[in-house]
């Protein structure tokens, strides 16, 4: 069997016709892939394209439904992660597979051969982390570490096994641009040592920057192979999405109106040991504005959302104002009645109950603001299921929610479709203020562009929109002004067109440049 493309050296790892079914759904079908020694190979594709399923099969977590995996030309069966390691494969997970209650050393020891003693592992880990510029304290508890530090543990853990191939699943999605640069240096060092890297991403710029070859997946199939350095971001995107994705149209900026949501000197202590305290938050959003709050995960975004929504109230009533009314001490439904709408980050178990139908999930957010149309019977509060159902149907049509059946459970929808429903649930009320946390997290490109357009349109029609996001592309698409949240502090806001990616990156890393903040009142 000859390898049709790629370098002449025999591949380190090959995949032939690899297929994975979940029920009747083919997450991967007939995937062919070759990874040469010493190359950084990109696996590109949007959310749900089958990238994660493919690497889980390579790492022995998922069992393939068909096809074969060849290690140095030999057909192999990888039954478990430890077998994968014995073939020289190491993996850095997207959602870290770390144990918060254990120490760094214990976390590393768990993925290694039992023959090493814990002290030896710690020494070795310290040596390796030094060599690759990834400083770590083996005795620290993971729960106390930042996201970047956690990723270092994962990488050191993979390196300790001296792997020939390291798989990284969306490694930069949780890093600041500067942290990402440091990661790229480490990857290039690994490459010079002759190791291979399988680099999974949907970020086109970084793939073009560091990858030697790319394989593009769409709907579980390979749709393209290329040298990413020869391509443009647009041509890569076409391969990923299959068509040009509509860009978000901003239109001309309209007149700014009154301040609709305002936060003044708001400090909130951490609620749990793993939470972040909010410190002296100030923000103002006027009608017609979209304020994007950028930041690396875990810097207080969730906590900020909780107090803005009123799911957790604060003692100072004046600290938060919605349409001029002090609302710090009142709950989420009172804020909704003032015309505010909220979209939390987590879809399952926060924005929606997976086991419940879409119409029940509509009632979840709107039982009080829409009391008159959805409830009857006075104190008995009898739910008018038929009107709730027809409202749910209207939302599904407006937002183009694809679903099976009339009123399916929220859990049966794909991430993108459920998110369209959750956003549509708020837009349907034409809220004066909308606060959204990570509006397109884990959502396919089509749904993401639709949701972003809806946010921009809502602001243009005279509402104030707050978008909390880690996705810098998204921020530049929708924002009229940008703040950065870091360790529970919110930076002053800057007009979006005055900011560069690098400036945001520096602020995300907690480095505030005082000369920049002078410019904050320019607009």
């Amino acid at each position: 069997m000859t390898v049709s493309e790629g370098p002449a050296v025999s591949p380190l790892l090959s995949v032939r016709g690899l297929t994975k079914y979940f029920g009747n759904f083919a997450a991967c079908s007939g995937i062919d892939l070759d990874i040469a020694p010493g190359e950084i190979h990109a696996l590109l594709g949007e959310n749900g394209a089958g990238k994660s399923t493919l690497v889980k099969m390579l790492f022995g977590i998922l069992e393939p439904s068909g096809g074969e995996i060849l290690s140095s030309g030999q057909a192999v069966v990888i039954r478990s992660p430890s077998e994968a390691r014995s073939f020289g494969i190491g993996m850095v997970f997207q959602h870290f597979s770390l144990f918060e209650a254990l120490t760094v050393g214990e976390n590393i020891a768990l993925s290694l051969d039992p023959k090493f003693s814990l002290p030896r592992i710690s020494d070795e880990a310290a040596r390796l982390s030094h060599k690759y510029g990834l400083p770590l304290d083996p005795k620290a508890h993971v729960a106390d570490l930042s996201v970047g530090e956690r990723q270092r543990i994962e990488i050191v853990r993979a390196l300790l096994q001296n792997p020939k191939l390291i798989i990284l699943d969306e490694p930069t999605s949780v890093l600041t641009p500067q942290e990402a640069d440091r990661l790229f240096e480490t990857l290039l060092k690994l490459k010079t040592e002759g190791r291979s890297v399988l680099y999974i991403s949907h970020r086109l710029e970084e793939v073009r920057r560091i990858c030697d070859r790319a394989t593009v997946l769409r709907h579980g199939k390979v749709t393209g192979r290329c040298d990413p350095r020869q391509e443009t971001p647009a041509s890569l995107a076409r391969m990923m999405v299959g068509a040009d994705v509509a860009g978000v149209s901003r239109g001309t900026s309209s007149e700014l109106g009154d301040v609709l949501i305002e936060v003044t000197d708001l400090s909130v202590p951490a609620r749990t040991p793993f939470a972040v305290s909010l410190r002296a938050i100030d923000m103002q959003v006027r009608a017609g504005e979209v304020l994007a709050i950028a930041g690396v995960a875990g810097n207080g975004q969730g906590e900020l959302f909780d107090v803005l929504s009123g799911e957790y109230t604060v003692p100072e009533n004046d600290a938060i104002r919605i349409r001029g009314k002090a609302v710090g001490t009142v709950g989420i439904n009172a804020r909704r009645m003032l015309g505010a709408g909220f979209v939390p980050e987590e879809r399952h178990g926060h924005a929606a109950v997976s086991e419940m139908s879409l119409s029940d999930n509509l009632l979840l957010a709107r039982s009080q603001p829409d009391r008159r149309s959805f409830l009857s019977g006075g104190v008995l509060s009898i739910v008018r299921h038929s009107s709730v159902r027809s409202a749910a149907k209207r939302i599904c049509e407006d937002m183009d929610v694809r679903k099976s059946g009339d009123d399916p459970s929220a859990g049966s929808l794909s991430g993108g479709n459920l998110q369209k429903f959750i956003v549509g649930r708020e837009l349907d009320r034409q809220p004066a203020v909308l606060v959204v946390n990570q509006p397109t997290w884990g959502v396919d490109a089509g749904a993401a562009s639709r949701i972003r357009q809806a946010l921009v349109d809502l602001a243009r029609s005279g509402s104030a929109v707050v978008v909390i996001s880690q996705d810098l592309d998204e921020i530049f698409e929708v924002a009229t002004k940008v703040s950065v949240i870091s360790e529970g502090r919110l930076s002053p806001s800057f007009a979006a067109h005055e900011l560069s990616l690098e400036q945001i990156g520096l602020m995300m890393g907690g480095i505030h440049d005082s000369t920049h903040s002078e410019a904050s009142h320019a607009h």
Binding site: G66, E68, V77, A351, M356, I382, V383, S409
Partner: protein, 363 residues
Amino acid sequence: MRIELQKRAQPSPLFSFVSPLLALVLTLFFGGIMFWMLGKQPVDALYSFFVEPLLEVWSLHELAVKAAPLILIGVGLSICYRSNNWNIGAEGQFTIGAITGSILPVLYPEWHSLMILPLMLVMGMIGGALYAGIPALLKTRFNTNEILTSLMLVYIAQLYLDWLVRGPWRDPQGYNFPQTKSFVPEAVLPEILDSGRAHLAIVFALVAAVALWFMMRFMLKGFEVTVLGQSERAGRFAGFSAKRMVWFSMLLSGALAGLAGISEVSGSIGHVQPTISPGYGFTAIIVAFLGRLNPLGIIASGFVLALTYLGGEAAQLSIGISEKVSRVFQGLLLFFVLSCDTLIHYRIKIVTQKLRGGAAHHA
């Protein structure tokens, strides 16, 4: 060989209905095996256990007497469990309800009034609710696990009852028996038909079940119960308070258990004594699950579990098996109910041979 589970996209409506029936059949099958191991004819034994009690009018009355507390407590517990509050101390709330409800007839035995019975019932409900309020307070205020506290309170309630009827409440003319004076006729819960002992408690039980079914099915409160039980976070997003739900569900189930307690003492026993329940508060947990936490289902399951009590008594008389067999049946039944419920949410695959990658290579 191994068993694999595949999550269904939607809970299977077929198995939601079939699963409790399947559990019943399995329980009968294993019960038959147990009788056979005890040296009895399985079919005969099962017949005298589960069919004979249904053939006579008086024993149908007994069935209603035993089903009433089970349904009353069971529907209350179903609201707790739906909202993810694990009250397992209904036996204690039953006991305290019986005590507080009996204050009037025991301490004022000369008081003859039509007011006495309604007052007793209300006081019983208040007593049960307050006793269930203790774990609710501890959970909301101190974050204490309600499973353990509500259970510890069962032992305390039983010891308190024991002390009362052997001490201050003992009937001085009672030949030193540890029991109170018999209630005056006005304090006795009336029977519903002339043909047997069944009293008003079964009516209370049916009314409570239908009312709670209506709440769960049509009212926003029912929606709140379900949402908070599925996800506290989503409940908070809806503006519901998990703490208030702890209070609501615990007080409600405590009040119903208290009502069951005073009804049992007033309607079935006629005085207070050290033992007033054959474990109704625990059996009601099984009733709640067998009824799939649905109040209407609980009416049916309450009668099924009442039959195990009655069958135990009947089998002891007719074929000489210990009445403890009924406890075994109850335990088995709960096990099978829980196992069969898996079928509602999962497809079960039995994999006999490992098929791994490479086997189905295609170009």
